[in-house]
């Protein structure tokens, strides 16, 4: 149920691993991580979603907000979204603003 977002920025790529449920209650926490990360001007944002169990519409809003905040030039890659989370993203058409990838390596 609880949500966690761990980030690191290296060589212009910001990577954030999301765990738990991204919903109205946890959106603020994620927005803060995005604010910290965007202060370092990354040119690419990678979100590791394999441990994200739920994405509500308020949670999706914070992804859209991240997309706006980072600007058009920043590529956003969503990696390893679970089927229900991927469905929420596709349903609303947000998949057209980002790159969705299957998990690599692991």
């Amino acid at each position: 149920m609880s949500f966690a977002a761990k980030s690191h920025v290296w060589d212009g790529t910001a990577t954030i691993r999301l765990t738990g449920e991204l919903a109205a209650k946890s959106a603020g926490q994620f927005n803060r991580v995005i604010a910290d990360v965007s202060a370092q001007d990354p040119h690419r944002l990678v979100l590791l979603l394999d441990e994200l169990t739920y994405l509500s519409s308020a949670g999706l809003r914070s992804l859209v907000y991240a997309h706006q905040r980072l600007g058009r030039g920043v590529e956003i890659v969503l990696v390893g979204a679970q089927p229900e989370v991927a469905e929420t993203i596709r349903l609303t058409g947000f998949d057209r603003s980002v790159v969705m990838q299957e998990p690599t390596g692991a």
Partner: protein, 408 residues
Amino acid sequence: MPDRPASTARRTRTVLVVGERHTELSDALVEAGFDPVTADPVEIANDPDAVGRPDVALLAASLGLPRVALLSRLLREAGAAGVAVYADGDLGALETCVRAGFEYVAPPYSPVLLRSRLVSAWERGRLTTRGERLAADESRREYERDLFVAHELQAGFLPDALPQPPGWELAARCRPARMVSGDFYDGFELLDGRRLGFVVADVCDKGIGAGLFMALIRTLLRHSAEHTPASRVADGGPDLPPRLAFGAGPLVQAVVDTNRYLAANHLRQGYFATVFFGVLDPLSGGLVYINCGHNPPVVLRADGGTTTLPPTGPALGMLPDGEYRLGRVFLNPGDSLFVYTDGVVEAADARGDRFGTRAMLDALAPDRSARDLLDGVDDAVRRHVDGAEQSDDITTLGLRRLPAGPLR
């Protein structure tokens, strides 16, 4: 003096700065040996616990006393040891807060002075002055009044009665999770009553912010649809039979206009809305629709078969150049259409288990009145959540074509 072990005195104290990122202040805080974190006031209002338990919270005076007092109370309740305001330009606002009893810091931000002020705010601990308390109480009362008024106003944005074309039933309901809802439905006649327009929409998020967007989106959609003449032929619909093309013009215009407006003016706020907008020809049963990223509505055939109507374009306000295709379906006598927002399938019980699409489909019994159709889903959702707090707005709409047969 509070009892303070030596180890606590030496560890780095966290300072939560609430307001715009303030470089000069942050730098001085670091130099004074603090660990500053900046947070947005709206985030704190939404979830004061998420910021952890800062040793001192520094609130921007320019937020104004009512908001400063309310945030201060929320942060103290969430475990912040001390609260002070910082000057960020507006001297009058700072004076008002200081008169109410708030500790303050003001530029030039010298590390030595900052340290002394913040330690004093921290040592004062949980003691709040009478001025702070009065301001917070008054501010909370004001917000409660405003919310109440917003609730009443918003009710005025839902139609008093839905049109009922001969041979059809249209029913809808909306159950907000909070005082103000981000969901809405609408139903109205188009093209001199020859078409029935209906909408179900879900603005991402809930509460007052979503409510403001709800009012905007509802107005844009309806205004544009009602003011597009029938002569306006839908783009992308050259293969439509004339009967369907007739209603498609206002539909496409409304969706494209609203998306363009939202994307041009509100994209930065990250708000978007999933919308299902249908235009029905009551005589033929032909329905043209655009599904903007919305949960697929269910067509319930008289014989019990079901099909769904998946999105034909992205959510409104998400992509400035979003493309919207027209969908179409025929409703025969005895068929129904069920449109819903995600609050239905995501309704959770106390353990967090969600109602789900499967259970919703099971709750849809064919060949029932539009009202009974909605009751069936409502009852099943209520049984599932079993008294757990409602976490999202729930909206449902049922459209039914009466079965052919002897008129009663």
